[in-house]
Amino acid sequence: MHAVDIRLTVEGVAAGYGARTLFSAVALELRAGEALVVSGPNGSGKSTFLRLLAGLQRPEAGQISYATGGVAYTPREAAPLIGWVAPDLMLYRDLTARENLRFFAAVRGLRRDAAAIDALLDRVGLGGRGDDRLATYSSGMVQRLRYAYALLHRPAVLLLDEPTVTLDERGAGVVESVIAAQRRAGIVVIATNDPRELRHGDLVLQLDA
């Protein structure tokens, strides 16, 4: 398996909420096959940094761009290339896991048959629970489904905010393998304070409170 042609460039990025500046002048570059770990105390802006990378928020200053095939894209334009897992990623509680995944496949313009969705559910360890509504799920199961949501479109860039939060040992194992597979195929960015996860990073971005 060869790594895809993808590059993430962050230049002079700053973010904050009103009076409080979280971080400023963050600059880095990532290529396919590389992993970045963002760490720092609570409230240092780890989640915000990942939201900027996902294009869910705009930076107060600076530029973020994804380049593939010699063309640069803003994070919003690059949405089909990005998979995002975070505690504040919420899926539809009144739908089943399968309905959720079918829906997100359809709005992304992907063809995913039942077998593909079953395979994905198996991969994150939710095989057999696909027809239950999310309202009946535990928080760990919801976290597993977030991975299915993020991997559905086989993204070149995977953004993981607190990847193993609420997961059990087996769930953490799933995350390990997802990270390992993604590192072979593209870019991984992990926001964490867990020392076990710090070792995944080729680069570490330390944010201070």
Partner: protein, 244 residues
């Protein structure tokens, strides 16, 4: 753990019209399914309309209104008052629910904005179709509204509902990002709905009379023009709401 079989696509492309329509339909079906399971919007809307119809019925049945031009206008006004306020209780639901359950981020990352707008617009149309049908029947039974030209009446309700959906769907998206959502929705929607409501009330009053389709033709044209204008503008502006 299976190995991934498909590589990521070369680059993000502007979604084709077909892709957008498929995605819009998916949004619509998803929302309809959620709505059928929770019946949150529909229950509130229909109950509101039913309460209004009952109140109007209790209030007016005994006065024995003579069937004059004024009586028809009064009946049409009351019908549209019921429809408008019932609609305002329910039409913001599509976006507000996404905001409240914090699913907007998941949707923003996955769906093209135009598809989200179209899907929610279709949902509001469907809700209004049900609401219009139930409210009309209630008014015919309880308020003794006699429909002289059924086809004209049906077309007036449909065209008026189209205006409501076209004008309020983008407003629902706007207020979903603000505080005091439901009050704000009415405040933002009402001034923009004054023109189509006036025409819809007058046209509906005419359709209650036994005059056929011709007298309401002008009103229908106006309502369709208003719907097209607000729909196209919404489609153009929705991107900015979605990115805000």
């Amino acid at each position: 753990m299976s190995v991934r079989s498909e590589q990521p696509v070369a680059g993000p492309a502007v979604p084709a019209l077909r892709t957008i329509l498929v995605a819009a339909w998916a949004v619509f079906v998803k929302d309809l399914r959620t709505e059928l399971r929770t019946r949150y919007a529909l229950n509130a809307m229909v109950l509101f309309a039913a309460c209004t119809a009952v109140m109007v019925s209790i209030g007016t049945t005994f006065i024995g209104l003579r069937r004059s031009e004024e009586a028809l206008l009064i009946q049409a006004s009351l019908l549209w008052v019921a429809l408008l306020f019932a609609a305002i209780t329910g039409l913001s639901r599509g976006f507000v629910h996404e905001e409240e359950t914090r699913t907007l981020a998941a949707l923003r990352l996955a769906a093209p904005p135009a598809a989200v707008y179209l899907g929610k617009f279709l949902l509001n149309l469907a809700l209004l179709a049900v609401l219009g049908l139930i409210t009309s029947v209630l008014f015919i039974i309880l308020v003794r509204v006699q429909v002289g030209s059924p086809l004209a009446f049906l077309l007036m309700i449909a065209a008026g509902s189209l205006c409501l959906a076209a004008a309020t769907t983008i407003l629902a998206a706007i207020i979903a990002r603000a505080s005091f959502k439901s009050a704000l929705f009415a405040v933002l929607a009402f001034p923009l709905l004054v023109p189509p409501l006036i025409i819809a009330i007058q046209g509906t009053a005419v359709s209650l009379d036994n005059a056929g389709l011709d007298p309401v033709r002008g009103a229908l044209q106006f309502l369709v023009a208003y719907s097209v204008a607000t729909f196209v503008t919404s489609l153009m502006l929705f991107r900015f709401v979605w990115e805000a």
